[in-house]
Symmetry: C2
C-alpha cells in the first residue's frame, strides 16, 4: 500500500490535450501536491500517466515555462517556479473544467445557486435545520450583555458551552472535563489545528479509502504523506490497517466512527478495539471526527469512549444539525495537549467566535433542539428508504443500507464512470459527488455519494436516468 497522488481526470470536456496537461500541473500546484521549487514529473512519466503523447507534454511544459509558471533547467528537468502566483490563475474559469480533485464537491456545492440541486453536497437543506430555534437565539442574543456582543472570547471558549459539550459527550460514553474541551470555529479548523500541533511536514497520515474528501485537501496543505486503508461496512479493513501501520508507522489516523462519510457505515466494537490495540502498539494518535453524531438513532461505538481520550482526540461541530452559517466546532483531548492547542489557536485565529458560541449555546439549551433532532432523524430514515428504492430502479446499487445519517454510497451500473456522470449532471445544474473525489487510490470510479436529504427532487432521477441511458463513459 503506497500513497497515491490524486490523479486529475483526463477527459475534461472541450479541452485540448495540451491545455488539459497544463491544467493538471496547475491544479497540482494549487492543491500543493506540487510545491514551489518541486521537480515536475518527467515528460515521459506524465505522458504515461495521462495517456497522452510525449509531444503533448513537451508542448504543455513549454507553454507553462513561457507563462513563468515553471522553470526549465536544461539537463535536469522542469521545476515549479517559486512564485505561487501564476498557477492559481488556471483555477478561474468555467466550473465545468474543474478536475475531480478533493475540492470538486466542496467548490461546486458551495458555489451552487439556490436553484441548483445538490444531491452531492454534504449537508442538510436549510429547511431541515432548526431555523426557528436560531431566530429565537438571535433575539435572545440581541438582549445579552455588551461583552457577549463585542468582546473577544476566552482562549478555550465559552465555559457554559464547553460544559454542555462535555455533558453531551458523556451521553455517548466519552468522559471529558470541560477543561479538556476547546472551542474552534469549525470541525475543519479543529482538525487543522491538530495537524499543526501533531504533524511535521512529510509525516505519514492514515485515512480511510474512501473518506471525506476534505481530509485529503487538508492533509496536503500540511504536506503530509497520505496513505489509505480500504473501508469495510464495519470499519477499516483491519488486516490492511495492521499491515499499514506496521510498515509506514503513521503519526495519525483520521476517521469518522459514528456515521462514516461517504459510506454511511458504522464502526463495529471488535474493529474499534483492534484499532486501539494497534494504535497502542505503534504509537498512533487518532482523530475521531464525530460531526454526524446527532443524526444517529443509537450511538455507535466511539474510539474515544473505549480509549478515554488517551490516544484518541475527539472533534465535533454543529454545522450539520444546528447551523452551518454560525461556525462553531470543538476539540476534546487529553489535558496536556489543550494548552499548546490553545496557543496555536491564538497564533492562527486569535480569539474564538464568541458570538456564534453564545448562539449555539442558546439553541442547544432550548428544549426545541432535541425535538428537532428527532424530526430530522425520522425524515432522514424516510428519505433513505425512498431514495434508495428509486436509485435501485435505475440500476444504482447502495453499497450498504446505513443505520443512520444522510449518506448513501452507491455503485453505478457496470462500466459507468461517476466523474462523467457528475460532469453531465453539472451541465443540468445538478451537483453530484463522484466516488474518486473520496478515494485516495482512485478506486471508486463507479461510485457516487448521495445525500438523501438533497435527493428528493424528481428532476435528479430524470437527469440521472437520461445520463445513464447515454452510458456516460
Amino acid at each position: 500500500m503506497v500513497a497515491v497522488a490524486i490523479q486529475m481526470n483526463e477527459n475534461a470536456a472541450g479541452h485540448t490535450r495540451v491545455a488539459m496537461v497544463m491544467d493538471t500541473i496547475r491544479q497540482r500546484v494549487a492543491g500543493r501536491s506540487l510545491t514551489p521549487g518541486a521537480k515536475l514529473p518527467s515528460v515521459r512519466a506524465l505522458a504515461g500517466t495521462l495517456k497522452v503523447s510525449i509531444s503533448t507534454v513537451v508542448d504543455a511544459y513549454e507553454r507553462l515555462v513561457a507563462e513563468g509558471a515553471i522553470l526549465s533547467r536544461p539537463g535536469s528537468g522542469f521545476y515549479v517556479a517559486n512564485q505561487a502566483a501564476p498557477f492559481a490563475l488556471a483555477e478561474v474559469g468555467p466550473k465545468l473544467d474543474r478536475a475531480i480533485d478533493p475540492f470538486w464537491v466542496s467548490r461546486q456545492s458551495l458555489e451552487a445557486g439556490d436553484a441548483d440541486l445538490k444531491p452531492g453536497c454534504g449537508w442538510l437543506p436549510p429547511s431541515w435545520l432548526p431555523e426557528e430555534g436560531v431566530r429565537r437565539a438571535l433575539r435572545t442574543l440581541s438582549r445579552a450583555g455588551g461583552s457577549a456582543l463585542t468582546d473577544y472570547g476566552s482562549p478555550l471558549g465559552l465555559p457554559l458551552l464547553r460544559q454542555l459539550i462535555a455533558r453531551r459527550m458523556a451521553e455517548r460514553g466519552i468522559e471529558a472535563s470541560p477543561d479538556q474541551v476547546m472551542l474552534t470555529e469549525s470541525g475543519t479548523q479543529a482538525i487543522d489545528l491538530l495537524c499543526r500541533f501533531l504533524l511535521e511536514p512529510g509525516d505519514t497520515v492514515l485515512v480511510d479509502d474512501p473518506c471525506y474528501f476534505n481530509f485529503h485537501a487538508l492533509l496536503r496543505a500540511h504536506r503530509a504523506k497520505i496513505i489509505g486503508v480500504p473501508y469495510t461496512p464495519s470499519g477499516p479493513d483491519i488486516e490492511a490497517f495492521a499491515r499499514t501501520v506496521a510498515e509506514h508507522r503513521p503519526r495519525l489516523y483520521i476517521t469518522n466512527s459514528g456515521i462514516h462519510n461517504p459510506t454511511g457505515a458504522t464502526l463495529s466494537p471488535v474493529v474499534a478495539h483492534r484499532i486501539l490495540k494497534l494504535a497502542d502498539q505503534f504509537d498512533l494518535t487518532i482523530i475521531e471526527d464525530d460531526i454526524f453524531a446527532d443524526l444517529e438513532h443509537t450511538a455507535a461505538p466511539r474510539l474515544a469512549a473505549f480509549d478515554g481520550l488517551d490516544r484518541v482526540i475527539h472533534i465535533g461541530s454543529f454545522s450539520k444539525t444546528l447551523s452551518a452559517s454560525a461556525r462553531c466546532g470543538f476539540v476534546a483531548a487529553k489535558p496536556q495537549w489543550i494548552d499548546g492547542l490553545t496557543d496555536l489557536k491564538i497564533a492562527t485565529s486569535f480569539g474564538g467566535g464568541r458570538m456564534t458560541a453564545e448562539l449555539v449555546l442558546n439553541v442547544l439549551g432550548d428544549g426545541g433542539y432535541r425535538k428537532h433532532l428527532e424530526v430530522v432523524r425520522h425524515r432522514l430514515s424516510v428519505a433513505m428508504r425512498e431514495v434508495s428504492a428509486k436509485l435501485k430502479n435505475l440500476g444504482v446499487t447502495p453499497w450498504l443500507e446505513p443505520q443512520a445519517g444522510m449518506f448513501l454510497w452507491c455503485q453505478l451500473p457496470d462500466g459507468v464512470d461517476a466523474a462523467n456522470v457528475a460532469r453531465a449532471a453539472l451541465e443540468k445544474r445538478i451537483v453530484m459527488a463522484p466516488g474518486n473525489a473520496f478515494s485516495l487510490s482512485q478506486s471508486a470510479t463507479s461510485f457516487m455519494r448521495f445525500n438523501v436529504s438533497q435527493t428528493l427532487d424528481p428532476r435528479i432521477f430524470e437527469v440521472l436516468r437520461e445520463v445513464l441511458a447515454g452510458r456516460a463513459n
Copy 2:
C-alpha cells in the same frame, strides 16, 4: 541583522534555575521553535545563553529525560521526543509564571476577568463598541431568510459585504474589485492563509522591530525564519530594510502601515515608495495588515494604494471597531491569487462564517456606524492626551505622539525592566504589555505599550507609581 530566537526571560519569580531552564525548553517546544525530533542546544551553549551554570542545564535536561519530554542520545546530544504531548503540560499552571513570549500579552488579556484592568490589551472596551448597532443587526438577522441563518456561505463570502469592503478600500485609494476580496474568519486567519499560500517552511519573513507580537507566534507556527528591521516614527528604517532584503532575500514582509502596532507611528509616503521599489527589485511580497484603518482621522499612506495590489496584499477585519465577538476579516489580493486562497480556506476551515458576515454587513450598512466611529476617534484623542500626560508625570515617556489609534509606546524610567513591571502589575490584576513581547531582537526591555482606551482607571497609575517606586528591575 540575524534572526534572533525569542529569549525566555530568566527572572521568572519563584522559580529555581533548573525549573527555569526546563520551562525554557518546554516553551520553545510549545511555541515550535524546537520541533519534535529536533536537537536541543548543547549544554554549554544553553548555559551561556541563559547565563546559568553548566550543571544547572545538565540537571534540567536530565529531569526532562526522566519526564519523557526529551531523549538523550549518548555521544550525540539531546533531542525533543516525538510525542508533542509532554511539553504542553508546562503551560498549565499559575499565569504569573508565563515567560514574556509572543503569547504573554494575548493569553493574559484574553484570560483576564471582567474585574481585571487591561492597559496592555490590544482592543477597545466593550462600552466603546457599537453595542446598539450590533443589537439592531441581530434583531434584523433574526428575521432573515433561512439560508442566511443555517446554510454555508459561498467560497469567497457574502457578495454584498465584499462589495462594501471594496468601496471602503476605494475611499482609502485602494482599488480592488469585489472578486479580489475574500472574507475570512478574522484578520489573523487572513494572514495565516496567506502564509500557507506563500511560504515554504524555512522561508525568511521580514517584520518590524517592534511589531504586533502575534506576527511572531504565527510565523513560528509556519516554521518561517523571522528577521526584524528597526521601526522609526515614519516607517521601517529604510537603510536597514534595504540591507536586509538584499542580504536575506525574504519572501514576505508583514507590517501595519495605517496605525502601527505597537508604536502608533504612521508610514510616510517617502518610506512607502522606497519599500515598494525595494520590493520590486528583490521580488518581495508585502502583507499590509490594516485592521486599525477605521481609527484614523485622515488616511495615512497605504502600500496597497501606491502599488495597486500587485506586490501588496491588503488585509483587514472588524474586530477593533465593530465587534471582536463576531469574527470577520478579509484579504484583498491580485485576482490570480484569490482562487488558490479560496481552496486553502475550504481545506482548512470549509465554509466561511456567513452569519457573522451578515451581521457585519448589517452594522456597516447602518448609518449609525460612521457616527460611532467619529465618537470613538474623538474619545481616543481625549484619552491619548490624558494618558500621555499622566504617564509623563510618572517619568514614563511616549516614544512619539501618535496621530490616531489606541496605542502609546512608552519608555520607562532608566533601568526599569518592563517585564518585571508587568509581572508586578499582574499580581495586582493589571495586564500590561511589556516591550520585549513585541521585539524580535529583545531590544525593547524598557518599553511598554499602553492602550489609552483601557488606561483610564486611576488604579493603573497608582499601581504603576508603586511598582516604579519599588524600581522593579
